[in-house]
Subunit: 376 residues, 4 copies
Amino acid sequence: MVGGGPGSLIGKVHAMGAMLDGQISLVCGAFSSDPEKSEIRGREYFLPPERIYPAWQEMIQREKDLPDGERMDFLCIATPNHLHYGPARMALENGFHVVCDKPLTHTAEDARKLVSLVEKTGLLFVMTYPYVAYPMVKEARARIDDGQLGKIRKVVVEYPQGWLSAPVEKAGNRQALWRTDPDRSGPGGAMADIGVHAFYLAEYVTGLQVTALMADLNPVVPGRRLDDDGNILLRFSNGAGGVLFATQIAAGEENDVNIRVWGEKGGLEWHHHDPNRLILRIEGEPVRVLRPGHSEYLFHGAMYASRLPAGHPEGYIEAFGNIYRQVAACIRARYRGADPSPEESDLPNIYTGLRGMLFQEAALASSADRQWVTMP
Amino acid sequence: MVGGGPGSLIGKVHAMGAMLDGQISLVCGAFSSDPEKSEIRGREYFLPPERIYPAWQEMIQREKDLPDGERMDFLCIATPNHLHYGPARMALENGFHVVCDKPLTHTAEDARKLVSLVEKTGLLFVMTYPYVAYPMVKEARARIDDGQLGKIRKVVVEYPQGWLSAPVEKAGNRQALWRTDPDRSGPGGAMADIGVHAFYLAEYVTGLQVTALMADLNPVVPGRRLDDDGNILLRFSNGAGGVLFATQIAAGEENDVNIRVWGEKGGLEWHHHDPNRLILRIEGEPVRVLRPGHSEYLFHGAMYASRLPAGHPEGYIEAFGNIYRQVAACIRARYRGADPSPEESDLPNIYTGLRGMLFQEAALASSADRQWVTMP
Amino acid sequence: MVGGGPGSLIGKVHAMGAMLDGQISLVCGAFSSDPEKSEIRGREYFLPPERIYPAWQEMIQREKDLPDGERMDFLCIATPNHLHYGPARMALENGFHVVCDKPLTHTAEDARKLVSLVEKTGLLFVMTYPYVAYPMVKEARARIDDGQLGKIRKVVVEYPQGWLSAPVEKAGNRQALWRTDPDRSGPGGAMADIGVHAFYLAEYVTGLQVTALMADLNPVVPGRRLDDDGNILLRFSNGAGGVLFATQIAAGEENDVNIRVWGEKGGLEWHHHDPNRLILRIEGEPVRVLRPGHSEYLFHGAMYASRLPAGHPEGYIEAFGNIYRQVAACIRARYRGADPSPEESDLPNIYTGLRGMLFQEAALASSADRQWVTMP
Amino acid sequence: MVGGGPGSLIGKVHAMGAMLDGQISLVCGAFSSDPEKSEIRGREYFLPPERIYPAWQEMIQREKDLPDGERMDFLCIATPNHLHYGPARMALENGFHVVCDKPLTHTAEDARKLVSLVEKTGLLFVMTYPYVAYPMVKEARARIDDGQLGKIRKVVVEYPQGWLSAPVEKAGNRQALWRTDPDRSGPGGAMADIGVHAFYLAEYVTGLQVTALMADLNPVVPGRRLDDDGNILLRFSNGAGGVLFATQIAAGEENDVNIRVWGEKGGLEWHHHDPNRLILRIEGEPVRVLRPGHSEYLFHGAMYASRLPAGHPEGYIEAFGNIYRQVAACIRARYRGADPSPEESDLPNIYTGLRGMLFQEAALASSADRQWVTMP
């Protein structure tokens, strides 16, 4: 693992998710740019001292030299945004698969370079977009793919948070500090940080691509250099319209990702605050509430993405765990020279990462110019 | 009453709402342009034959000639949209107060003429926007007005319906027929029919005015001449951003009007499908759910707008009833030469009607030109 | 109307419910044992002075003497419990149909006398149990009757209120005063006042009868002479088990009536706090949520019991209105010499009233003796 | 670990919960009474062959002989019910701490023997009742302990499942087979299997003890030898009344554990199907919804029991993880010679296990004799 040092939340989530199913072990790490902090964190994970590295460059180099079966199988990148590109590139160049937190890079240009590298090396490159890994989100996609809603007409996708409601970065909140700093976070604020989750969720669930958007980004808290709130009109490849909003200044909100999709025959609805529930409305029929674990009516992808019988709630760590379980399955399949199953390979990949960068750039451009922008 | 003949839903709702509290009686009517149908409906209301009129012109004329205490106190207009202006104008010109279903007219120009007439005559002119008459919506407004959310930052207001999901107007659905016909419905479709409810709800609850909008109206069902779906970005007078969507092709939806508002300190949320509930989220505090009938914590306006103790659900007819109860109180106050109380006079009025027309025109223009449009 | 004087809630509810659909007019009343108060209330209803009576005895006598078409069609009894029997008896003896608030009487013995009188006279006798008049409760009954849950196995029915949580009767709360006074309320407290609603709801929805019960009544607030809380185990005619609880000391509760029923194939659930929703769970299928107004999937009884299209909430007054609309239909049918339809005659009747008294007596006996008691 | 062989669900849950926080490793196991199956499961956990044992007796013996720092720290018992007592006893006798799935034993007599052994050895003995390990359940207890509801008056606790709705044991369902077999499951059915969770939840949350109960156990599915459904009236040490029901034949239900508690000042409510939510109703105040991760308003115990910031759902595995994280902390504290913190030691223990057995015996006796039974 790169990053995830003391004080990092997402590093721990990666670790818990990766190890949840007993298929993956954390074998080495460069957890911080401060070697001492890296050391502290490494010991907390009970790593042998020789595999706690002071810097990611050294880690990739030295792991590469370890014998087969000992060296790490893949690199997990859990650093702040500006430190994704470097480790990703070096890992790929040295033959390591990569699991990378979003966003992929700071610019679409860098993202394209990584795409080339992945295409050249054929290595696995997985983005940890956790919301699409929930069983009921997979079910939503499967039902739409199966035509149960008919042609899609309208999508409303939302990501309200409230934690940047006050200028907490001025009060020393570390998470807020780097996220509101263009140097470390990149040119996008809330829309890049969380809007991109909503964007991918919409594309994943519908199987459509956004072809044009009209953004209104709004830096609400005085003194902020990056957008902390924004609303976007969307148009999709099939003509459907939509709305996306993402905000970090919605005081009182936690971390609610919501999607509603309507088609000719009906609609569906999912909320992260109660993730084990998919609401399905078919015109002229009672509303249906689908829940995980029901092999009688769920598609296989949703069944694959839960571990427990119906009525035993799973959450965010399990969603991360789903991604890692699939990563392990894909790597095992490569060792065996086999193809992973459709459920195993249903993973956000390097192109997901690239589209996220394209979305971010389009949103910034549209908002600045106050006009519709097309997406490739 | 004008309109509300056989087959009309809204006419019955007006009647039930008006008579709910025993303060208003239906004394006469011209229920249909077909005198026979007017007769049928009038008898259903047990009206004396001489006060069932074959046409509204005749009704206004003849009622005017009745002695004090016998003639109708006000005219209720429950006709299709293209028949609002005529009766409204004639009623005002003949000294009758008016209660008018929305939209006020077909054009903002006509609306302005009625504004002048109201200002000249000093008569009461009330628009029946029922959603703002729910107790928990009044509470939302009162809390925001009281500063409990701090400065408003973001508004999301929605009106999804699914009943025009299929081309039911081709199958003879009468409600659909006139609503999808520009001649009878006016130049606006879903946005004019229901979007305007969402628009007014947003302005009412926040106490702000929309100053600019960017609309994307979308005629989804092939062959329709009017928009049946649309998404709009909003900007409010205080700089807040927002989203409004209204759709009649969201298959599976009933008639859900939803509003969420966030300010510096917290947010609130109301849904028409469970109207006796206002969700209030103050940053750093537990979510609160407010319900009608609780004098211990509700503002007076919300208490005034319900009839039953806590735990006894009221609904749409009661919301209509609230408007009519206030109309009765305002008229009684005039008889007494007194001012109505703030709760009694908290009514959608002629300016509400005008703003609805301006909104509709701005949305149509913005969508056609694909650019932001300012509102006066 | 008898009772429903100034300060009475239920009198107003009867009036609003009765007049909601424009089929019934309030034509006379003896609203209070205090003639002055009766006068005040009668004027509020705009009654002619000669039909505002100082006492119910006089009203029944004088109305009887009015000519056909002028005299009242039926008597509505909305007095405190100890004043149900007298007016009911006299009304029946003088040829008037009766609509009576629950409980029927103070004792099962009195109830049986009224049963005889109803059987002898053939008059209509309707009890206003409003919860069974909600459309989704009618749907629940219809689905069970249709066998959709299979054989019923278990019933849980609840009525939690919190308004007697503190000794408010000592603070002068009038509703609390007579309800906690055995002389006016009868020997039963919460179980008689609200438990009986839960009891009837269970019998109505399942179509079964309770055959045995084991009660634990609990006067919680010190100094109360009547039970204000109680829990009961139930056994039904088909062997199913169940639980009923009713409480008025559940601080924080409003007026939530809840029922859950499970059978061999699935279960259903209804809550008064969100009455336009019936939750249906069939084993191996997604949970279904049924809502009023959907002719595509609702049984006729549920359609008959709502007035508005799907998505327009109705509530408590409308449930009362359903009872009165059916009463009007039944009386009209008698005038025509016809039978009312099954939807029209689906009304709580004199036997419902009697079973309520038997339930109350069984609960009191079981709790006193701490043993199971059988019901006839 | 003892038990948890191929086909076992709960074994995997123990493993995932134990390893979630990186504090505990699975070092050895006797996963099945069939050595071959034990071997298979052990390899799935990547255990070294010499620590995959063919039988638990051998495991305890040989682990005991391993040097300090190598041998297992505690034994986890995840076998069917009839195999809890043996391993528990031998582990204690050989100096190992024990984490034991419920129920503790088959009889209260055996349970008392284990109590003596724990008291004599001073070893840690933890029961894995996961529902009390959810953060919002800990918050419920803390709020009641803090007096926020006042004196407790009424408790309603429920555990509805539907998976034994049909005679699935005859169709070869392995979980159903041993659970409906008195030889392997003990004399209690649903009440012992899941009712005991509800029982402990009620005692944990309220801090009260049940002193008397009146049970009506009901074997619903023909041919079953053990109760699969039951309803119980409760009385608590402070005079409060209550209801407990547990059922495995409630067709359509998943695994919903629900508790409602009311006191003088208000009530609270928790549902396992949406576990990250505690509903708090204080009389005269808006309903409050509390959610994990909010240090601004939660008690320390609830904060300690979640890992993620507000808005990131945790579930059943995390609840198990909480128990194991506390076990690890308690063992570490012993190594250090220190006392664990109150949050660390808030664990279901050997007395919890004993009370579960006493509850089961009282319920069986009461139902058989159809009378109230007191509990010690």
